[in-house]
Each structure stands twice: as C-alpha cells, then as structure tokens.
C-alpha cells in the first residue's frame, strides 16, 4: 500500500477508534486481532515503518511520514479525551497499541507522546499538536515548583526530549504534585543516545514558566507516572521479544550449517524454546499489568505489584531473550544491516526508562516486606 492510500483511510480512523472504544469497553480483555486501534496502527507500521526498510534508510527520512500518518490517525493522542484534543481511546487500546509498536520497534515518540497526553489529561490540560515527552522519566529525578510558579530541576534519560515540541511535566509543589505543559524550547537539553541509538536526553528546567499548570488529581504522583511509563515500556519490550522470536525461528529454518538447517539442532531448538518462554513471560506480565491499570479504580498495592512486576520481568526477559536471539543469529545478527538489533538493543534500552528493574525490585521488595510474610500470598493471588 502506498502512502497516499493512508490519507483516505485514516481520515476515518478517529471515527473508528471511537466506535471501537464503545464496544470494547463493555467486555473483558479484548484480543489484539479484534482491536481496530491496533489494526490501524499495524497497517501504518507495516507500510511506513517496516523494520527492514527503516534499517536501510540512513537519513531517517521515514520518520516524518510515519509521524504524520500516526498523527492523522489520532494515535499519539490516543489517551487524550476528545474534549482535550485527543482521540479518546481506552487505556486498554492504548496499551495494545504500544505492544504493536514494540513488534515493529517503532522509533518515533509515540509512547512518549501518548504518556504525555495521558498525564496532561489527568489534570484536564489539553494536548497540543506534535511530539511530546514526559519529564521526569526516572524515579530518582525531581522537578520542583517554586512560589513564583516556575519549574526547576534536572531530568536524565528523558526519551526523545530532543524531538519533543512540548513536555508534560510532573512537578512537586508545596501543596503536592502538579502537572504542567511546558514549551520544550524553554528547557535546556543535553543530547544523548541510549543503547538502542534513540534519543535519551538530559532536560534541565531553570525557573521555566509553564504554558499551563494545574494540580495533579489525588492519588497521582511521580510513582504513578513512573509505573504508567514502566508498563508502557513493558508492552514495547514484550512486542520486541515477540518479533525477535519470530525472526529467530524464521532464520533458524533458513540457515544451514553442518549440512542441515540449524533449527534441526537440539541446542538451537532448546535455545528457541527458552526464547519463547521469555517472550511469553514478558507478554503475560505486560498485558496483565496493562489490564490491571486499565481496570483499576486506584493505584493500590495490587496494581503496584502488577506494574512493578511487569517492568522487572520484561527487563529480565529483554536481557535473556535478546541474548538468545543474537546467539541463534550468529555473526549476521551483530551487523547494522540486519534488523535484529533494532529490537534487541531497543529492548535493552527500554529497561532503563521510568525506573530500572533493580529500582522496582527494591521498591516491590520493600512493599512486600512492609506488608509482611503472611500478606505475600494474598497479594500475589489478588486476581
């Protein structure tokens, strides 16, 4: 399908999303293939973000058309209600969309803009057009609001900050958490790249006046934002692992060594079985957490368990699973020409965003310890 075909199709996309939302919000978790938001996104990704095509494109000329198509379909603002300028998809649909984005190793700030839009919407702040990201993106960093209404602080590892036109900022004021929309050009950005070669920048706000600022709703604090971001990353990692399993299985059925397909070697079979296990675990952890958040009434311990576990387990799977995918591919997978690294390195990079697995493991461990030994099983068996 050529690019021009999209135009017509996606003019009706927002309409479709709204319809989809109606019948999806009625039932239990909906399978991906039944999800029109995901179907729309997958069509766009397949046409404009095919990993092999992107990998061969040295000057990133694919980014602009991809972003435009996604924007026209209303996807970056999927989590923003209609009345705030978004397309008002459900949380569940948005998470499924991120999982699909992971399957294509999509390297535009889709997840970041979705998260930013979601954060702004929590304070009823309308989302502007264009790329956004969230500040801060690490549980360790802190942005503060001073008495003059200006924001200050430093945030490391902010994904796609350099590409963002606006920041959605979660800051600490003297009366509690606030949410602000900030013009990206008012912050100082030190550019960096993560291990997956995507922008991961340091953002410094020095008495920056936000465009809009409002109190965060009760119960939404930096931890909530980090968990929300962590679940987004978990879904992306799970998607990347699904793709890695897929291309590794295919490669093993094509590649010949010692006069047979390498898929016929028991060592390769068992490695791929383990990769399937890691991929499955990541998928289960991420989709379970997404479902928990999508249906949560508050960020209670049970949701915390789901979200933190997803980030921990998906990060572990990224390391183990990605390692196996590379081992199966041999030297070819270590080249820039092959698409494997688009998945494997990005999955590793995503481990670091919104709190590493070590961070969440310590926090989850503390939560479990505080609740006490006899409350562990009731927590695990809570749904």
């Amino acid at each position: 399908m050529a690019f021009s075909d999209h135009r017509a199709q996606e003019e009706t996309a927002r309409q479709l999303i709204r319809q989809a939302r109606q019948w999806q919000n009625t039932g239990n978790a909906v399978a991906e293939s039944d999800n029109i938001v995901v179907e729309t996104a997958e069509k766009i990704f397949a046409d404009l973000a095919d990993p092999q095509t992107i990998n061969n494109d040295k000057n990133n000329s694919w980014q602009a058309p991809l972003w435009q198509a996604l924007s026209e379909a209303g996807l970056p603002l999927a989590w923003v209600p209609d009345d705030l300028g978004g397309s008002g998809a459900s949380l569940a649909d948005g998470f499924a969309l991120l999982n699909a984005a992971g399957r294509f190793a999509v390297a535009v700030p889709l997840a970041e803009t979705m998260l930013a839009g979601w954060l702004l919407a929590q304070a009823r702040i309308a989302s502007p057009e264009g790329e956004m990201t969230v500040v801060p993106a690490s549980p360790k960093d802190r942005i503060t609001l001073d008495a003059d209404g200006a924001l200050s602080g430093r945030a490391r590892g902010v994904p796609f900050a350099k590409a963002a036109k606006h920041f959605a900022v979660l800051a600490h004021g003297k009366d509690g958490a606030v949410i602000a929309l900030v013009d990206a050009s008012t912050g100082r950005i030190e550019s960096g790249l993560n291990v997956g070669y995507d922008h991961s920048d340091t953002v410094t706000l020095d008495k920056v006046q936000p465009i809009t600022i409002k109190p965060a709703p009760k119960g939404l604090d930096q931890t909530t934002l980090m968990l929300m971001g962590g679940v987004a990353r978990s879904l992306q990692i799970a998607g990347a692992l699904e793709a890695m399993l897929d291309i590794s299985v295919r490669y093993s059925n094509e590649r010949v060594a010692f006069e047979k397909k390498i898929s016929k070697f028991q060592a390769v079979q068992h490695n791929l079985a383990r990769l399937a296990g890691e991929s499955a675990a990541a998928l289960a952890a991420a989709t379970s957490a997404a479902d928990a958040i999508a249906n949560a009434k508050s960020f209670n311990d049970e949701v915390y368990l789901e979200a933190a576990s997803a980030k921990i387990r998906c990060a572990e799977a990224a390391e183990k699973g990605g390692g196996i995918a590379h081992q199966v591919h041999g030297a070819i997978g270590f080249t820039m020409e092959h698409i494997l690294h688009r998945y494997s390195l990005r999955a590793l990079a995503w481990r670091d965003d919104f709190g590493s697995e070590s961070h969440w493991a310590v926090e989850l461990g503390k939560l479990v310890a505080t609740r006490g030994a006899d409350e562990l099983w009731p927590l695990v068996a809570s749904r």
Partner: protein, 386 residues
C-alpha cells in the same frame, strides 16, 4: 508472526474470590485442629485420609466434572483457586491430588459408563487414591519404550513387568497405567500400548518403596506378576494409548503446583528479613515476587484457555518449563538472600529446616512429569522447528 503465543490477562470471576475465602477458612480450621502444620512441607507426604474426605465433602474434588458423577460442574478457574490455596498452605493433598488432576479426567474420557459411575463419585468424596503407572526401569522420558506386557486371556489381560517412580502406589486404591498389548510397528513406534485401570491391593501386585534423597518414601516400584485385569478396565483404544497420552500429560503441565512446590521458603524469607530489608534483600525479594507473579498470571491464563475448551499444549509447557526451573532455583536464591539474616530472627530455625528440605527436593522438580528436555522439545515442535 510464526509463533503466536497467547497469554491473555484472565481476571478471576467474582465467585472465585468467595471460594478462595471458603478454602482459606477451611484450611485455617484444619491447621487449628492439628491436621497438618503449614510450616512443615516435608510432612506433605503424610497420608491424610480424613482430610481427603473433608475436602471431598466441601465439593472441591472433581469440581469441573459432571454432576452425575459427583462433580460440581464448576469452572477450571475455580478449581485453580482451590489448588493454589491448598498448595500454598502445604496441605496434605497427596491422597487425592492425582485422582483429581489426572486420573479422573482420563476416566471421564475413556472409561465405560458403569466404571465412571462406580469410581468418579468416590474420587469426588475423597475416598480413593490414584497412582499413575507410566515409567519403567528402562523407559523414563520415553514413555513409548514401555515393556510391561498385558497378555490377552479369558475375559481380560494378564500383566507382567515393572513400573517405577510411581508416586503414592503404596497407598493407592487404583492405578492408571500403560501396558504393552502389541509390539510397536515399523511405521509407528508408539503403537502397541494400551491404557488400563488397575485395581491395587490385589493378587499379583507388589509395591516396593524407593527411598528418595529427601528422606521420604513417596516413589515406588510396582511389580506385576500375572496380575489379572478384566476387559472392561481397558481405557480407550487397544494399542492406541499414544493417541491418548499426549492430551493427558497436558493436565500436568501448567497448574500452580508447577511453580509453588518450594514457595514456602519465600514466605519464610520475607518473615526472616522483617519489615525493613536492606537493598540486597529487598531487590532479591522483589525480583522473586515479580517472577512468581508473572508465572502465576501465565498459569491462570492457561487455566482460562482450558476453560474455553482450547488445548494450549505449548503455552502449558512454557509455564511448566519456566515454573519448574524457577521453583528449583528458589531454595538456592533464598539461601543466598538469607545469608545475613540475624541469628535473632524468630523463624530462623524454621527457615533453615525448610531450606534443607527444599534444597533436597529441588533436583526432582525439573524431572517429574516431563523433564525440561522433553518440555523444550514440545515447545520447539510448537514453534515449527521439529
């Protein structure tokens, strides 16, 4: 995608939560009454016939089976809740576990009606104990190498040979076993085995206990010498057990018992480190809990697929592969994390005793009911590699 694995985020229905409360209350009463000590997992092999009957009386055996056979026609998800609560409490389930999980479903599918009517209600009442006769001294993972003969005779078969690693055979009332009724054919080496219902404690059956490295005697060798089985105790197709064996094993693969067998050491570790763990302990516990939670959600998801009538062989095998490797390593990881527990920790001795037992239990976890190697072979087949 070549390999579309699905693990949908099943939510347990409301009624499961009510049931869970009932099970917990029941178990708390049993513990209070001294039926079993939840802190002594090594007592798990204790035979507890009265407990078994009380579980049956609650309607928690054969829960998913038709009411006419004594079942409750409840869902796999409800059964799941009962199973996991029993396991986590270290309840003495040995007497009914095999019958409920494996033998009952086989009978439901393959036994003649009069046998179903006779036996299934007794399973549901917790009156009878089953064993499984698969392995033989020279056939472990490779079930189809079984040699124990069933020779046709008047009105039935005469059995000669030896089964091994037969859990609970020393207390079992029945065994479901595969015996060789014909030699394998050139085209199909799996041909020639037939599944039978064996009544134990009859002439021609000798049960020899085998000591395990845990100090328990849970395994047995079962020697058959001209043991007679009537024709109506054939289960399914003569010579065709290979068509039945695969689906049967699926029952074994992904239940909560496949990652919770050493769970108790994690609880005790949390107790031992107390409410203010250092970073090392907190991280260790956090990772283990995240891994456990993930496996449980995968396992619940598979239960949901079973409930929906699917046959998630690959997904179930993945859960068992990951789960058994995890529960095998758990005692060692907990031992590491407990290295600096204060000598004053109130449960230190309990933890040490439990670790001792769990470490000795660990080696069998990736062997019993399908080795890691067999499971990965099944997964690889599901991925289209073999």
């Amino acid at each position: 995608m070549t390999a579309a694995l699905r693990f949908d985020p099943i939510r347990l229905p409301e009624k499961c939560e009510q049931l869970r409360k009932e099970v917990r209350a029941f178990l708390a009463e049993e513990i209070a009454a001294g039926t079993f000590d939840p802190n002594k997992p090594n007592r798990e092999d204790t035979d507890a016939p009265e407990f078994s009957r009380r579980v049956g009386a609650k309607g928690w055996l054969g829960m998913t089976w038709p009411k006419k056979y004594g079942g409750q026609e409840r869902s796999f998800l409800e059964r799941y809740v009962v199973t996991e609560e029993m396991r986590v409490a270290n309840a003495p389930t040995r007497r009914f576990f095999v019958a409920d999980r494996q033998s009952g479903p086989v009978l439901l599918k393959y036994a003649p009606e009069h046998i179903k009517m006779e036996i299934l209600p007794r399973i549901c009442r917790g009156e009878i104990c089953f064993a499984i006769g698969m392995s033989e001294p020279n056939s472990g993972s490779d079930l189809f190498a079984a040699k124990t003969r069933a020779t046709k005779t008047d009105g039935g078969y005469l059995i000669n040979g030896t089964k091994i690693w037969t859990s609970s055979a020393h207390i079992a009332d029945y065994m479901i076993a595969i015996f060789r009724t014909s030699p394998p054919t050139k085209e199909n080496r799996r041909h020639g085995l037939t599944q039978f219902l064996v009544k134990m404690k009859q002439p021609g059956i000798k049960v020899n206990p085998i000591g395990q490295i845990t100090g328990q005697y849970e395994f047995n060798e079962v020697v058959f010498t001209d043991h007679f089985i009537p024709d109506d105790h054939v289960l399914g197709e003569v010579d065709g057990a290979w068509k039945q064996a695969t689906s049967e094993l699926a029952y074994e693969r992904s239940g909560p018992e496949r990652f919770l067998e050493t769970y108790y050491v994690l609880t005790e570790l949390v107790r031992a480190v107390g409410p203010n763990p250092d970073t090392r302990s907190a991280e260790g516990i956090g990772r283990l809990v995240a891994q456990l939670h993930t496996m449980r959600r995968m396992s619940v998801s598979v239960a949901g697929m079973l409930q929906a009538g699917k046959e998630p062989v690959v997904e179930a095998s993945i859960v068992k592969d990951i789960g058994t490797v995890w529960e095998q390593q758990l005692p060692h990881r907990v031992r590491d994390l407990a290295a600096f527990v204060e000598e004053t920790a109130t449960n230190r001795e309990t933890l040490e005793r439990q670790l001792d037992f769990a470490i000795k239990t660990a080696p069998k976890l990736t062997i019993q009911g399908g080795t890691t190697e067999v499971l990965r072979g099944i997964i690889a087949r599901g991925l289209g590699l073999r």
